[in-house]
């Protein structure tokens, strides 16, 4: 049993090391596109099968966004981003739970000379490169949205508050705290998702090694649930932060 925080390298593509997490990321992307296209080509006015699922997802996400943003136009504008985040994370979380996860891979000899395998499957969310990249992308999107909605001056007022007005120094300190929290978002987004999914994978591996039959099952269900919750939490937080970024400062 070998647990690696970093995603394992499968092969090199030019100078890019292709890891199992990146491989799964691409697989998830292709799956998402295929599933949605399949749902679309069979679209009927009376929903059936896959279309029902797509409609539930779309309606659910859109309804939730509208309740968060209190604005139909804004909800529809950010719907693609939020829905893609949710679906991508959900699918990559769940793919990591497929049985045989750690058993199919490349033969490999580790530093100590033991023969191990590098599994093909590793949830994309269990790789900091993905979670950190996604959280950077999301936080930058949030800042750009805030600046576009309020203007640079209006957006800056959230963070830089004059110490000579009503809440005086408290307001200024709060502003600086807000600024720090914007950067903290990058880390909290990245490590929350990574920590949950990676911990889940370790938990399942450990359980499988301790008791191979039946006992890991409840943990498998728990991880299915956690996979959904983390995807939803990530997407909802993005929505909430987008809403907050477009709301003018109340000083």
């Amino acid at each position: 049993m070998e647990i690696s925080i970093a995603a394992e390298k499968l092969f090199m593509l030019g100078t890019l090391p292709v890891t199992n997490a990146l491989f799964i990321g691409v697989l998830v992307s292709v799956l998402l596109v295929l599933i949605t296209q399949r749902a679309l080509t069979r679209w009927q006015s009376v929903p059936r099968g896959l279309q029902n699922v797509s409609e539930i997802v779309i309606d659910g996400v859109l309804g939730l966004l509208e309740s968060i943003m209190q604005d139909r136009g804004m909800a529809r504008k950010f719907f693609p981003l939020i829905a893609t985040i949710f679906l991508f994370i959900l699918l990559s979380n769940w793919i990591g739970l497929l049985p045989g996860l750690g058993t199919v891979g490349l033969a490999h000899e580790n530093a100590a000379g033991h023969a191990t395998i590098i599994p093909f499957l590793r949830s994309t969310s269990a790789d900091l490169n993905f979670t950190l990249g996604l959280s950077l992308f999301v936080v930058i999107t949030i800042q750009v949205t805030g600046i576009l909605a309020l203007g640079i001056g209006g957006y800056a007022k959230k963070f830089f508050v004059s110490p000579f007005h009503k809440p005086y120094v408290v307001g200024t300190l709060m502003g600086i705290l807000e600024l720090v929290s914007e950067f903290a978002k990058i880390l909290s987004f990245a490590f929350r998702l990574f920590g949950n999914v990676f911990a889940g994978e370790i938990l399942l591996t450990v359980m499988l090694h301790l008791v191979p039959y039946f006992i890991p099952l409840p943990f498998l269900f728990l991880e299915i649930f956690v996979g959904f919750i983390q995807a939803a939490v990530f997407a909802m937080l993005v929505a909430v932060f987008l809403k907050m970024a477009t709301t003018p400062a109340e000083h």
Binding site: L16, G25, S29, W43, D59, P80, T84, L128
Partner: protein, 161 residues
């Protein structure tokens, strides 16, 4: 940087993951969400239109029913009126005919009465005249004597009256 490397963070991989995600986002936005939202909107519009249509149809139906009732009621009163008029006209015509007939019958009766009276008078006169001639002849025969006409006449008249 050492800490980042220990966590397995490699900027090339990070960039690759972000690019991958953004490509999925753009593809899904263009080829999945927009058409799906459009279809959902279309269906919502269709359902709303259907509901409005159904409501207007049912309202129209009830309006029609009301109109139908009104028309029927109108027709009924009209029919009643026409019947009443016809009855009245018929009664009037009957009455007129009756009086006419009565008048004609009365006239006919009068005429026939007059004629009978005249005839009787005529017959009486004729009978009188004939009787007078007969009596005269009989008297002449019986008497076989000639009298002067003045005396004769006087005698006859006296006898007759």
């Amino acid at each position: 940087m050492e800490a980042l490397a220990n966590l397995g963070i490699d900027w090339k991989l990070l960039l690759a993951q972000v690019v991958n995600f953004v490509v999925v986002l753009l593809v899904l936005k263009r080829f999945a969400y927009q058409p799906m939202l459009k279809l959902l909107d279309e269906r919502t519009a269709k359902i709303e239109k259907g509901l409005v249509d159904a409501e207007s149809a049912s309202r129209k139906l009830s309006e029609m029913e009301m109109k139908e009732k009104a028309v029927l009621a109108d027709a009924r009163t009209e029919a009643k009126r026409i019947l009443a008029e016809t009855d009245e006209a018929a009664a009037k015509r009957d009455a007129a005919k009756m009086t006419e007939t009565e008048a004609r019958v009365k006239k006919l009766l009068e005429e026939s009465e007059n004629k009978i009276a005249e005839d009787r008078k005529k017959m009486l006169e004729e009978a009188k005249r004939e009787l007078a001639g007969t009596v005269l002849m009989a008297v002449e025969k019986v008497l076989s004597e000639k009298m002067d006409s003045a005396k004769e006449k006087e005698l006859i008249e006296r006898n007759l009256n």
